[in-house]
């Protein structure tokens, strides 16, 4: 009996009720997205056993990859205290450039891809410079950039984009190496490099500090403007990369390729536990967020429900996540 009590005392029951509540909130804030992800996988499997079919898993991950790549970029911007609404528009722009430039020829794949990535980085640079040096709020700046790119696309294509996607890019979007989709490998690489940059480099540390407290970071000798500009450049670059992968997946030129990815990437980052105020968030959390959002869409398809219903569930998950992650500050 004594031993039993000792065990009980060394566990969560040793704490008072309100302590337990605080601990629960703390654990939930830190690991909540993983808990939700695991529960979601279990529930999905119960509702529709096909969910675990390798073919479905393959498709699920394939479709999640472009979102994952943008979300890593979005996370980096959000960590620095910003937001990037121009990513989806940039993805579509990449799609148009890739289709028009590659003309279905594999040997043009690399040079045109490099141009696309360059355009992405340039768009990010423009966002970053105007946000830091001219003091334009990130929301407004990137909203403007989103509309601007959209306009350029329509003026250029006159509403009817042309071009064909070469098989090499198709392979990146839909193919596989052994049993792993190529797109997932790209996403994995991006997430891995992202994690290394965030956790092991001076830039990562400066980014967390800048997002956590810009003034304190500045007074500690960090060039906060530079840190923020680089975050937008990385985000633009990754949005272009995601655009290329998505283009390979779609296999056609579409003025609206990637539509909705700006909000979905922000949702994934937030569901993954990041603060929109900046300074807090992880790559692992973001991956969980991306998977959660993707599984919801996947389940809607598997259960033959309306796509609109999926949007309703995604909305609820997003709001619910933020409502539950809110951690009480200790006095």
């Amino acid at each position: 009996m004594k031993a039993l009590r000792k065990i009980a005392e060394s566990t969560i029951f040793a704490y008072s009720r309100s302590e337990r509540k605080d601990i629960f909130q703390f654990v939930f804030a830190r690991y909540g997205s993983y808990v939700v992800l695991i529960l979601l996988v279990i529930v999905s499997g119960i509702l529709q056993p096909i969910f675990f079919h390798p073919r479905n898993i393959f498709n699920l991950l394939l479709r999640a990859s472009p979102l994952g790549i943008v979300a890593v970029g979005q996370l980096i911007v959000v960590l620095g205290g910003g937001i990037d609404l121009s990513v989806a528009s940039l993805m579509a722009t990449t799609n148009i450039i890739a289709a028009a430039g590659m003309l279905g020829r594999n040997e043009l794949c690399l040079p045109v891809s490099l141009i696309c990535l360059g355009v992405g980085a340039l768009v990010g640079l423009t966002n970053g410079v105007l946000i830091t040096k001219r003091g334009i709020p990130p929301f407004i700046m990137t909203l403007g950039m989103m509309i601007l790119l959209q306009g350029i696309r329509f003026v250029w294509t006159r509403g009817a984009p042309r071009g064909t996607i070469p098989s090499l890019l198709r392979f990146i979007g839909t193919g596989r190496i052994w049993i792993i989709p190529t797109a997932v490998l790209v996403f994995g690489l991006v997430a891995g490099v992202g994690a290394i940059i965030l956790y092991y480099t001076t830039y990562g540390r400066q980014l967390y500090a800048t997002g956590g407290n810009r003034q304190a970071a500045k007074l500690s000798g960090i060039n906060v403007d530079k840190v923020i500009i680089i975050s937008y450049v990385i985000c633009g670059f990754l949005a272009a990369l995601a655009g290329l992968v998505l283009t390979g997946y779609l296999g056609l030129a579409d003025n609206w390729a990637g539509k909705g990815y700006e909000l979905e990437s922000i949702a994934a980052v937030v569901v993954g536990g990041a603060y929109l105020m900046g300074g807090r968030g992880t790559i692992e959390g973001t991956i969980a967020g991306v998977l959660i959002m993707s599984i919801l869409v996947n389940m809607v398809l598997l259960l033959n429900l309306d796509v609109e219903l999926g949007m309703i569930v995604q909305g609820i998950v997003l709001i619910g996540a933020v409502a539950f992650y809110k951690v009480k500050k200790l006095g």
């Binding site: 605080d22 001076t202 967390y208 500690s220």
Partner: protein, 504 residues
């Protein structure tokens, strides 16, 4: 107003509260009478703020009860507190800067018909409230134009207008210049005469003796005792607060520097807020800077550190060389550190750990090619400094927001020590800290000077300046209006120079 002056208005019985890993309060009881000022003192982390936050419903207690005007009440959120006639005034003002004084005073209960506010009535009513406390401020001017003290007073008037008969003040003077404290005290006395009860939290024992009727002391989340003002003296209180004797809070200044080694020389410095500043600082010297708020003290510090206000003219020589420090990076690179007056907004990144805060200014030095962090080196540096400064933190990677104020300030110091600066500027380094933490910070400042660092110490606390400084510059309206050597440092002279009275 119910006039029975000895009536007990508030009783808190056996309050306990825990946070993860910390027992913040255990079995604390407190009572407060009408027409009384009850001072609540204790070191940082003693539980004062937690206790008050329970009273106003920000936190809920784990155990214990609150009895208000003889009835047991359940205050589970700030709205309950407001309806029960409890009002709290925080260290930092909770006013809306762009609304007028009147609008702020009556915020949330404006005289109105339906949704339409009646401005004439609003300002008339606001004026009446202001007059009750003899405050001569035009209710139509926006709050951001007021001084900090005036804002504090508006916050008090606001509490009054809510008909609060229990007013809690959490270190209301921590951001007030000395001469405005008395105005605030008059305000408190007026409240008292109206039969309201005041719970006053403070670190400054001098104030406690001026204003308190009774003093309650908390330590480590427990009530150590309650004394009447007559029964309280400074050494008793200090002993009760920190649980040991403090030999001397302000020990004698020992001269340590030599005049021949100049570290900083400022010549004819002029900017939008500074006029023709000239001074020199020597290695190992502590140069005090006195002056009222807005006298240019902080502006001077920021110009030297390369933040804000570009220079209109003048030269800065650092370590014998003419320098132009346009941004903090260059200043830090040259070997200058700056402990800002506001550690929450400018000193620390609360979302980061102790280690990560300490290493912020030296990321370039603890990395390969300024890119790849050497985490072992980082941890080693942080551990050394945490031990050296005796920073009380559960672990090195505890988030700084979980530390007490004094320990947070030590983290700021550790951060600058990691740079090994040749010059360090302290702006109000002990504001809001308790006696124990203050003494430790003072010790660290001295030690830095003894090791040859040049120190500029900006402070509103004259005793602090007097005990630490080798020389004191007095500033007023962006100019240096006086320089006192260690021999002629006398409190009244600093005050009169700062306030602009004629010298006798």
């Amino acid at each position: 107003m119910r006039s029975n002056n000895s009536e007990i208005i508030l009783e808190m019985r056996n309050i306990s509260k825990s946070f993860p890993g910390v027992k913040a309060l255990s079995d604390v009881s407190l009572e407060c009478k009408r027409g009384e000022v009850l001072c609540l003192v204790g070191e940082n982390g003693a539980g004062k703020s937690t206790l008050m936050k329970i009273l106003v419903g920000v936190y809920n207690q784990d155990e214990g009860e609150i009895i208000l005007r003889g009835k047991k009440v359940d205050i589970s959120n700030p709205w309950d507190a407001y309806r029960s006639g409890i009002s709290i005034i925080y260290q930092e003002s909770n006013l809306v800067p762009h609304l007028s004084v009147g609008e702020n005073v009556l915020l949330g209960h404006e005289p109105s018909r339906g949704f339409i506010i009646n401005p004439t009535k609003l300002y008339k009513s606001a004026k009446t409230w202001l007059q009750r406390l003899n405050i001569d401020i035009n209710p139509r001017i926006p709050v951001y134009k007021l001084s900090v003290a005036q804002q504090q007073m508006i916050a008090i008037v606001k509490a009054l207008s809510l008909n609060a008969d229990l007013v809690i003040m959490d270190e209301p003077t921590s951001s007030l210049p000395l001469h405005e404290v008395e105005t605030l005290f008059n305000c408190i006395r007026a409240l008292k005469n109206e039969g309201r009860a005041i719970i006053y939290i403070s670190h400054r024992l001098e104030e406690v003796f001026q204003i308190a009727d009774r003093v309650a002391v908390l330590r480590d989340g427990k009530r150590v005792g309650v004394l009447s003002r007559e029964g309280a003296d400074k050494s008793t209180l200090v002993r009760m607060m920190i649980g040991r004797e403090v030999e001397e809070v302000y020990p004698e200044k020992v001269k340590t520097f030599t005049v021949d080694k100049e570290i900083l020389s400022v010549e004819n410095l002029t900017s939008s807020t500074l006029k023709n500043i000239n001074f020199k600082l020597y290695r190992g010297e502590i140069l005090g800077v006195a002056g009222l708020m807005g006298s240019g003290r902080t502006a001077l510090a920021k110009v030297i550190f390369g933040v804000d206000s570009p220079l209109d003219g003048g030269d800065i020589y650092f370590d014998g060389k003419s320098v132009s420090l346009k941004d903090p990076q260059r200043a830090i690179g040259a070997g200058i550190g700056f402990v800002s007056e506001n550690r929450g907004e400018e000193g620390l990144v609360f979302t980061l750990s102790v280690t990560k805060n300490i290493s912020l200014p030296i990321l370039g030095k603890i990395s390969y090619l300024k890119f790849w962090l050497n985490k072992n080196k980082e941890k080693k540096i942080a551990r050394t400094l945490v031990e050296e400064l005796k920073i009380r933190t559960p672990r090195l990677n505890t988030q700084v927001s979980y530390l007490s104020g004094g320990n947070q300030q030590k983290v700021v110091l550790a951060k600058w020590l990691s740079v090994a600066p040749k010059l360090i500027i302290f702006d109000e380094p002990t504001r809001g800290l308790d006696i124990g933490a203050k003494a430790e910070i003072h010790y660290l400042i001295r030690k830095m000077a003894e090791n040859g660092t040049g120190v500029i110490l900006i402070s509103s606390e004259i005793p602090e300046l007097m005990s630490l400084s080798d020389r004191i510059l007095v500033m007023r309206k962006g100019q240096i209006v006086g320089e006192l050597s260690s021999e002629e440092i006398a409190e009244h002279r600093i005050l009169s120079l700062a306030a602009g009275e004629k010298e006798d």
